[in-house]
């Protein structure tokens, strides 16, 4: 498989997953806000700013919007073109990558992704969002889930498939860890918090719902919501498909399906790092993690995921970057077969 194609498949599925996760985070938090009473501006800011932080673009946000309110955060994370991680930007980039590998994906996937793209850039999208943010986010989530379903149902399981799996699971592991990290300021730096208030309990259940984990959590722990149990569920649970451990295990599996190297060995850095992280997650307890500090742990975890991503690029995809020459390149691509009027050498 062409390295560039592997790269595009990886990013296509990563961006789809990203758009879905941002929709999840926003949806749940907008709903959560409805449960607050008599909130002052500080409380609101404390609620919304971490959500911007969890997508990692705080600087740009402050520059564009200054204050964190429900509408400014939503605008920034949904429609902002300058924010490369907004829902619209993510879907645009997913589609751009899909266009580059149109021959490797199926018509069903392409048409759905294209439809989603045409929807989010249409005026209708904004109207839907104003009418009912929740329905709007459901639309994004449903479309992403449909794309995942279509991939499962229509894509041939060749090397490219495993690159899409890697993209999806690395993004999901990262976003789950960031969603979980949203409330870190309310936690002690080290150790497990003892009791939590009712509002805090609501916030922690919002975190679970962001990850579609509320039902699964309840079936294991009942309705009692405690940060320790929530964190254990989202980081260490073996069977929940959005937990960090589950995602990293899938990611590791996909890496090995590409190279054919067994679990106990490695043939490149990506496999080495992924294998190590799987073991770490298998042989850790949540109390150890809280002892280390949940926030610091998640921070380190995100760095590890990044390293796996970089190692993957080094191994399979390494290409000289053309981004610096971007505009010039686009111009030449367009110029082909266009034959712009050549300006005459003489003056008239």
């Amino acid at each position: 498989m062409l390295s560039r194609v592997a790269n595009s498949l990886y990013w296509m599925s990563r961006y789809i997953e990203r758009a879905e996760n941002i929709a999840r985070i926003l949806d749940v938090n907008l709903q959560l806000q409805l449960d607050f009473r008599n909130v002052d501006e500080t409380t609101l800011r404390e609620h919304w700013l971490p959500i911007v932080q969890c997508t990692g673009d705080q600087e740009l946000f402050v520059q564009l919007h200054g204050r964190a309110t429900a509408s400014s955060v939503a605008e920034f994370l949904v429609f902002e073109e300058a924010n490369t991680n907004s829902i619209v930007s993510s879907i645009r980039q997913a589609r751009e990558n899909a266009r580059m590998v149109r021959a490797q994906i199926t018509i069903e996937i392409w048409e759905e992704l294209n439809r989603l793209y045409l929807f989010v850039i249409s005026p209708q999208a904004r109207m839907d969002w104003k009418d009912s943010p929740s329905e709007f986010f459901n639309h994004i989530k449903a479309s992403s889930l449909q794309l995942i379903g279509l991939s499962y149902a229509t894509l041939i399981r060749n090397e490219g498939w495993w690159f899409t799996q890697i993209g999806k699971f690395i993004e999901r592991a990262d976003k789950t860890s960031r969603i979980l990290d949203v409330r870190y300021q309310t936690l002690p730096q080290r150790g497990v918090p003892q009791t939590i208030s009712q509002t805090e309990a609501l916030e922690w259940s919002a975190i679970l719902r962001s990850c579609s984990g509320w039902d699964a959590y309840k079936s294991i722990h009942g309705a009692e919501v405690h940060p320790r149990l929530v964190a254990e569920f989202l980081v260490l649970n073996e069977d929940f498909p959005r937990s960090v451990r589950f995602c990293v295990a899938e990611l590791n599996h996909a890496l090995r399906r590409i190279s054919g190297v067994i679990d106990a060995r490695f043939s490149n850095d990506a496999e080495k790092l992924a294998g190590r992280l799987v073991s770490e997650l298998q042989f850790s307890t949540i109390d150890e993690i809280f002892e280390f500090g949940l926030h610091s742990y998640l921070d380190a975890l995100q760095t590890k995921l990044n390293r796996i991503g970089n190692a993957l690029c080094q191994t399979y995809i390494f290409q000289t970057s053309t981004t610096a020459l971007g505009d010039h390149l686009v111009q030449q691509e367009e110029q082909q077969q266009q034959q712009l009027s050549r300006s005459p050498r003489h003056k008239c």
Binding site: V5, R99, A103, E111, N114, E333, H346, C348
Partner: protein
């Protein structure tokens, strides 16, 4: 006016003195349109418009679009599609097929000749200066023998019809002609919209084009390569024909690559894959010569592959189309094609050229400058409707501008009489009006010559306009070649 009366669809339709593809001078539907017309009358205007909307929506959803240049948001548009097909009877198509095959044969002989002995120049049929001054004449490839001696593998020849319905060649596109994906997609859209018609009318299929193209690419593989790796080289996603590139690669089952995916080592071409470098044997390139290899042609090209021309010369990789075919697209060289046909094949041209005046010849130039407001002036090496003056529609200022261009750079301009292109009923705001059309068949030259029945019919959607290019407000129609004559 939208009328609910089905028979009224063509009511009030006027030929306006032009040759019409569907209606004769007395207002009767021509024999090869009769079956279609009978079926078409069963649709109400409402039904028709509904079908039209659903086709546009489907094309947009499938991403059958071209990029609008200079738009940073990457706006894409669909190439407007008109649901009334252009129909060609069997006998007429046989004539066109013979004419097109004759033409591509002569052009390939010409290209071989000018890159080897140059007999045609020595025998005085084409003046040496016309050839040597050609912008796309590649001196670097003189005395190089291309694989299987084929230069133009894929040709898109633009045909028009004059006021008596006579076919003429407007131009040859022997470099990277595009548009064939619309031929295939338009057919798909028509089959979905009018499923019943295809069985009743008897229309020749077009969907074997990708197979024919693949066969040709396999045919030109370097000697000794039993199972060649074939790739399509695209400039990238920002190119207006990108959809077509992916479409063809997908239907041929070959990789679509960009320049950065390829690398040349020891004069062999490879692609970068997740498993290391893999050899490449045949490249269907959709990049112009100029950008193909920065070490030989334009140095600033970022789309090409350094060393590719060298690998090509060494015979380790084949290219379609070959390097250097651009000279046959030169509108000055075009004027000599009828003479080429006589010279190489000793035959009369089956399809005529449009009469052409060369500004580089003194007598012609005089005529051009005196009759500018009656003529169409074209720059010798432009396409896509750029660099063109339509005398009768031009402003005084434009006329003066071109007068000056022609005097300053005569080699770069030719002129032709304004042809009143044939028209075709076309759907405009709920009724039908005549719009000018042309036809671009796609000719594949491999082991044998193969032409998919029909081609791309382009239609100038703006009233009275003669320009059919997608960049200039053109649309397209499905082209039906019938098994019979009715």
């Amino acid at each position: 006016m939208i009328s609910e009366e089905p028979r009224a669809l063509l009511n009030g339709y006027e030929r306006d003195g032009f040759f019409d593809e569907m209606i004769d001078a007395s207002g009767e539907v021509l024999p090869h349109y009769r079956k279609f017309d009978a079926l078409f009358r069963s649709f109400s205007a409402d039904e028709f418009q509904k079908k039209e909307r659903s086709v546009s929506l489907a094309l947009l959803r499938q991403g059958v679009t071209f990029n609008v240049y200079g738009d940073s948001r990457g706006t894409e548009r669909i190439f407007p599609f008109d649901l009334v097909p252009r129909i060609i009877p069997a006998s007429e198509w046989q004539f066109l097929e013979r004419g097109l095959a004759q033409r591509i044969t002569a052009l390939n002989l010409f290209l071989h000749d000018i890159y080897h002995e140059q007999r045609i120049v020595k025998d005085g049929v084409i003046p040496a200066e016309c050839l040597l001054s050609g912008k796309h004449f590649r001196r670097e490839f003189v005395n190089f023998s291309v694989p299987k001696d084929i230069y133009i593998h894929v040709c898109g020849t633009d045909l028009i019809r004059g006021d008596k319905g006579e076919y003429m060649v407007l131009e040859d596109n022997g470099r990277c002609p595009s548009g064939v994906s619309y031929v295939l997609e338009n057919r798909r859209a028509m089959k979905r919209s009018f499923p019943g018609m295809f069985e009743t009318i008897g229309i020749r299929p077009v969907d074997h084009y990708p197979q024919e193209l693949l066969k040709m690419l396999q045919h030109i593989a370097p000697p000794g390569v039993a199972d060649p790796t074939i790739v399509l080289l695209t400039p990238g996603v920002h190119n207006s024909a990108y959809f077509e590139h992916t479409y063809l690669a997908r239907h041929m089952g070959i990789e679509i690559v960009e320049g950065r995916d390829l690398v040349v080592r020891d004069s062999r071409a490879f692609m970068r894959t997740t498993k290391g470098l893999q050899p490449v044997h045949v490249i269907y390139r959709r990049i112009d010569d100029d950008f193909l290899d920065p070490t030989v042609f334009r140095r600033d090209s970022m789309l090409g592959v350094p060393g590719l021309a060298h690998a090509y010369r060494a015979g380790h990789v084949s290219l379609a189309n070959s390097i250097g075919t651009g000279i046959s697209d030169d509108k000055v060289i075009y004027a000599f094609v009828p003479r080429m046909i006589k010279y190489y094949l000793d035959q009369e041209p089956i399809i005529q050229n449009v009469p052409t005046y060369l500004a580089s010849l003194e007598s012609d130039r005089k005529y051009i400058l005196e009759n500018l407001e009656k003529l169409v002036v074209k720059a010798a090496n432009e396409s896509g409707g750029y660099g063109m003056l339509i005398g009768p529609h031009a402003s005084k200022q434009d006329l003066e501008q071109f007068r000056c261009h022609i005097t300053a750079e005569p080699r770069n301009y030719i002129a032709q009489p304004t042809i009143s292109l044939s028209r075709h009923p076309t759907h405009v705001n709920g009724h039908f009006e005549g719009r000018h059309v042309d036809l671009r068949p796609f000719i594949i030259y491999g082991e044998k010559i193969s032409i998919v029945p029909g081609g791309l019919t382009r239609v100038a959607l703006r009233k009275g306009s003669l320009v059919v290019n997608s960049s200039q407000g053109g649309g397209s129609k499905d082209t039906w070649v019938l098994y019979g004559n009715e």
